[in-house]
């Protein structure tokens, strides 16, 4: 069963979404519409509510109030059907550190059911990205950059999901690894909607088609590409 509505509706539509943790309003009354193919940035300082919003969109947490529509359908029951079309990369690793990179990737490929030929997909990927020396090592032995590369491949193999959600994908990476991640996002973004969380406008401004600036759980500013330079100068 597919959850994708074929009449080209917004990929993500949040209506009046709030999330409360105890007495803290992590996200307040968010209304957000993201169209297919957009690369959207969620910008804000620490504690602004970016990651909470990302987890709500990826259906990892349930909002306290509000309505979520993904791929044109309201998310109520059977959330697992929507998750087939979503790839989520959070700031902490999803990998089991005592399994090797290959075992982890195989596990996620099998669970996501995106391909039947796991071995071939992983071997191709190893050749393409030169991961031969890292793929068969336990993931806790990998460097931050290498682990993040593998994490990104976890959500993008063998093809990009309909909705790709990335939380601080560039943090702790060197220039080469940053470029690797940017390439994966930009090279194939035409049919995939990408949402990137970051506190650093510089790192996402080149790849985003729209940026939402969050403050204290609310969307304060919506930036279009024409306003990026102005905002960047203002920030600096």
């Amino acid at each position: 069963m597919s959850v994708i509505n074929r009449e080209n509706p917004p990929i993500v539509k949040l209506t009046n979404v709030s999330k409360v943790y105890g007495f803290i309003n992590a996200v307040k009354d968010i209304d957000l519409t993201i169209e297919e193919g957009e690369t959207v940035g969620l910008l804000g300082n620490n504690g602004a509510g970016k990651s909470t919003l990302l987890k709500i969109i990826s259906l990892l947490i349930t909002p306290t109030t509000g309505k979520i529509e993904l791929f044109g359908k309201e998310v109520k029951e059977d959330q697992y059907l929507f998750k087939r079309e979503i790839g989520t990369l959070l700031s902490h690793s999803f990998f089991y550190e005592d399994l090797t990179g290959r075992e982890n990737l195989e596990f996620y490929l099998k669970m996501n059911r995106r391909t039947d030929d796991h071995v071939k997909v992983i071997n191709n990927m190893v050749k393409q990205y030169g991961l031969k020396f890292f793929i068969d090592r336990p993931t806790h032995e990998l460097s931050t950059g290498m682990a993040k590369k593998l994490e990104l491949l976890r959500v993008t193999l063998p093809y990009l999901p309909k909705l790709l959600l990335l939380d601080e994908p560039f943090s702790g990476l060197d220039v080469e690894n940053k470029q690797f991640i940017k390439n994966i996002i930009t090279e194939r973004k035409s049919n995939t909607t990408v949402i990137i969380c970051s506190h650093d406008f510089n790192s996402i401004s080149h790849i985003c088609t729209k940026v939402y600036y969050l403050e204290k759980g609310r969307i304060n500013i919506i930036l279009e590409p024409s306003e990026f330079d102005y905002f960047l100068n203002k920030q600096n």
Partner: protein, 228 residues
């Protein structure tokens, strides 16, 4: 069939991780060996008939199994919670029930592995005789263990987000398993001493009923339990 594949894949990953590190298996095995040794030493110092020893041994066996389940429970979600990555499971496009049943399957597998060793130790050191109906003894042990594992997995699910698990787990676990442990102990004693198949079958049905009730309940509310 996809839910069965999901359960198998998830459980396989947990079993592989456990056999690679062997942390839980080691602590369960060590506890089992030490307990059998302590009870066996105790039997050498008290003047008690063979029948009495066998009756106490059956109780000891269930005491050991109960605490082995407790030790196993700590590992059920430990790998996901170690790095706050319960989200790794939640992000998968699978039914939440598959997660519960996979964790249950994992717990049953590692417990069965250690239980076989415990049974051998119990026969050697505690003199539990196997001249009784061996198949019935296996049935009682299997159903009793399954019942404890179901209850244990429910407790693990309920305490996923609990801050003080060491306090929450025993408070929830012991009241839930007390009827099962009492019935299982009584059944095993009955089997060892009197070899009365009817009582054993009736009590085993009670254990199945207990497991079925709590399993049905938990499968109905898994969505709520695993969601934040």
């Amino acid at each position: 069939m996809s839910i069965i594949t999901d359960i198998f894949q998830l459980a396989k990953k947990d079993i592989l991780l456990e056999f690679r590190k062997r942390e839980t298996l080691f602590s369960m095995g060590l506890f089992s060996f030490a307990s059998v040794l302590i009870f066996s030493t105790l039997f050498n110092f008290i003047d008690i008939s063979l029948e009495g020893k066998q009756a106490i041994s059956a109780a000891c066996l269930w005491f050991i199994i109960t605490f082995m389940v407790m030790l196993g429970l700590t590992s059920v979600f430990s790998r996901e919670l170690k790095k706050n990555s319960i989200y790794s499971l939640l992000s998968l496009p699978i039914k939440p029930q598959a997660i519960f049943l996979a964790k249950l399957f994992y717990l049953v597998v590692i417990l069965s592995f250690i239980e076989i060793i415990t049974l051998i130790l119990a026969v050697v050191f505690l003199r539990i005789t196997l001249q009784v109906n061996f198949l019935l003894l296996c049935l009682v042990l299997t159903i009793g263990t399954l019942d404890l594992c179901v209850a244990g997995c429910i407790v693990s699910f309920l305490t996923i987000y609990a801050k003080s698990k060491t306090l929450a787990i025993p408070i929830l676990f012991f009241p839930l398993i007390l009827p099962s442990v009492l019935i299982a102990t009584q059944t095993t004693t009955n089997l060892v001493l009197f070899d009365d198949p009817m009582t054993v079958i009736n009590n085993t049905l009670l254990l199945i009923f207990h497991a079925a009730i709590i399993l049905t309940f938990v499968l109905l509310v898994t969505d709520e339990l695993i969601g934040e």
